[in-house]
Point group: C2
Chain length 359, copies 2
């Protein structure tokens, strides 16, 4: 009945507190069983402490002795740390003991470990890291790839389009998602060699391809799925982060220097918080790595418990809506050979799925 | 004594009013003579009207019968319109009648016309469009290329680094500018084929190369000149525009819904305006197209008179500081054969240059 989700308990910068709190909240409000992975001697007393008398909650601990740090080089860490929280956690998914994996750890290491342990679905050349971006409308957009793959070819972009479209439909609940090619002009024929080659291939797909879009369209609600090479997407993502931080800093400075009175300061703080909430990445739950044999969500290192909660929520939603199975069908014309335990059952549609309702 | 600057009078969306007002202000406050280019029968009465009794101001009109629209395809417009304001204006620079050109018109058409009419300096493979980006510090950063060249090779990036560094030193007055390579990670060896190839070449240059930088560094004051392929730069620029617009919209919404009282609304408007001023692109005067035989500044289509004024100011500053000559020396080891009329004289250093002081 419950959807089994693995959570790397030692991913976030402030781990394991955000993970423990997020997991407890998820177990209280979502139909999930959370498998916390980390050094048990350290993790168990902390979990017990936070649980208090909520012993009925479906949280289990799986021991893993090693943690991959944020500043470690991915390839090296993945090779050297055979008993990392990431590897142990992803093995649980591979073995069918859980259907999804969530981490707020080192993105490079998470991608490398997930590709190694889970593997790509048949027909998927390169799994793609996708971010969910805020827009002026209430529906966010999906940008992919944002750094899993650089030096992509046109065929890769076509695969990203298909996977992003499925994710937008299943997890974000967007009907007939508009898919756009990130480019430097709107007219067909614009762009670099890659986008010129990809355009006709995307146009030929049986999905709602709306043509070229530009950087500003990521946020203006004109497109739902934005496809690009991983280098471009990563630059776009980090540029957005930088521009947002600059604007927040300047705004804070401007508000505090202008609104000198106490009432002004109070009002401005309220406005600023409301504003911040609309842009809050923690609501989106992290970046799905699409195209793997299992659900994998990678959150920001600065994730708090709300971000972790939403990471688990999104992973469970992807399992419930059979995103992996849909991508597998799209690419291979059939359900993948390896079953994802619990996923099929939980996603059968007969189990009520309460998004944020109380347990 | 005066620096001759050509201004496309029919560039901006609301032309020619911003151009006429900006030109008048420039002539009153800067040591410049402005050559307004446009259809004389339409332009002269408007200029007379705005001038009033300031007949002593050094503004002259040059007739050009055609205007290139914002939505026209660049290549086609440049071919078809032989008497466009852009072509006539740039010819004045080529013929030595002026030292710099400013337009707020169609960027693609301006780039194509400038390359055709002025030509690149010896040794410059591809002139680069550079934007000036706001940062948390008082000094902006320079990002190039932002769309003049896609599918760049490592040699192109090296040239962009040299040109951007000279511009940052001469026009932005940055001592020993820090030059960074826009990439998706900070460590050497990160990135795509292009950045991996460019890194050692940049490292070998006799300038202050600080290695790889990421999208967020454009704004955080850690780097002064950011070098990238034109496709990447254009995506970064337009993503910044989109993210800024989203944040402004959400902020406005948040402020108006939170600050209900009149005093709150007044306070918030003040704060918002102060904030907006810090991010105001009109202060930067537009994007220089570097590497040509003459100064060429391309402003935003939405330029107001302040943006035009600053475009003229920046063009004059580039002439005065001999940016073109410095780039020519860097690339060819010598001053270019073709003299840029007035530039040498005006830039001699003996003429006082009053930035914003009254005439």
């Amino acid at each position: 009945m419950l959807i089994d989700i693995v959570l790397d308990a030692f991913g976030a910068d402030k781990a394991p507190e955000p993970e423990i709190k997020g997991a407890i909240r998820a177990c209280r409000h979502l139909p999930v069983r959370v498998h916390l992975v980390g050094p048990e001697p350290e993790l168990r007393p902390l979990l017990e402490q936070h649980l208090g008398n909520q012993h009925e909650l479906p949280i289990v601990i799986h021991h893993a002795s090693e943690r991959i740090g944020m500043d470690e080089k991915a390839a090296q860490a993945v090779r050297a740390k055979k008993d990392s929280t990431m590897r142990v956690g992803l093995k649980l998914v591979r073995e069918g003991k859980a259907a999804g994996f969530v981490t707020a750890g080192n993105t490079g290491a998470a991608m490398a470990t997930a590709k190694m342990v889970l593997g790509a679905l048949d027909g998927v050349d390169r799994p793609a890291l996708s971010t969910i971006m805020p827009t002026v409308s209430r529906t966010p957009s999906v940008l992919l790839d944002v750094g899993a793959n650089v030096d992509c070819d046109a065929r890769n972009l076509v695969q990203f389009a298909k996977m992003g479209e499925i994710y937008a439909r299943s997890v974000l609940k967007i009907d007939n998602p508009r898919v756009g090619l990130l480019n430097i002009g709107e007219e067909e024929g614009k762009g670099n060699e890659l986008t010129k080659e990809a355009y006709p291939l995307l146009k030929a797909l049986p999905l709602n391809f709306i043509g070229n879009v530009e950087g500003r369209d990521i946020f203006n609600g004109h497109v739902d799925v934005i496809v690009c090479d991983g280098f471009i997407g990563n630059v776009a993502l980090k540029t957005t982060e930088g521009a947002s931080r600059l604007m927040r800093d300047l705004l804070r400075e401007s508000l505090t220097s202008t609104l000198k009175s106490k009432v002004g300061a109070l009002l401005s703080r309220q406005a600023f918080n409301a504003f911040r909430k609309r842009l809050d990445y923690t609501e989106y739950g992290g970046a799905p790595l699409l195209g793997l044999r299992g659900v994998c969500i990678i959150g920001h290192g600065s994730s708090n418990d709300n971000a972790i909660y939403n990471g688990i929520r999104v992973a469970a939603e992807a399992v419930k809506t059979q995103t992996t199975e849909a991508i597998a069908r799209e690419f291979a014309g059939q359900i993948p050979a390896r079953p994802t335990h619990d996923a099929g059952e939980a996603a059968g549609g007969s189990i009520p799925y309460h998004d944020q309702s109380a347990h």
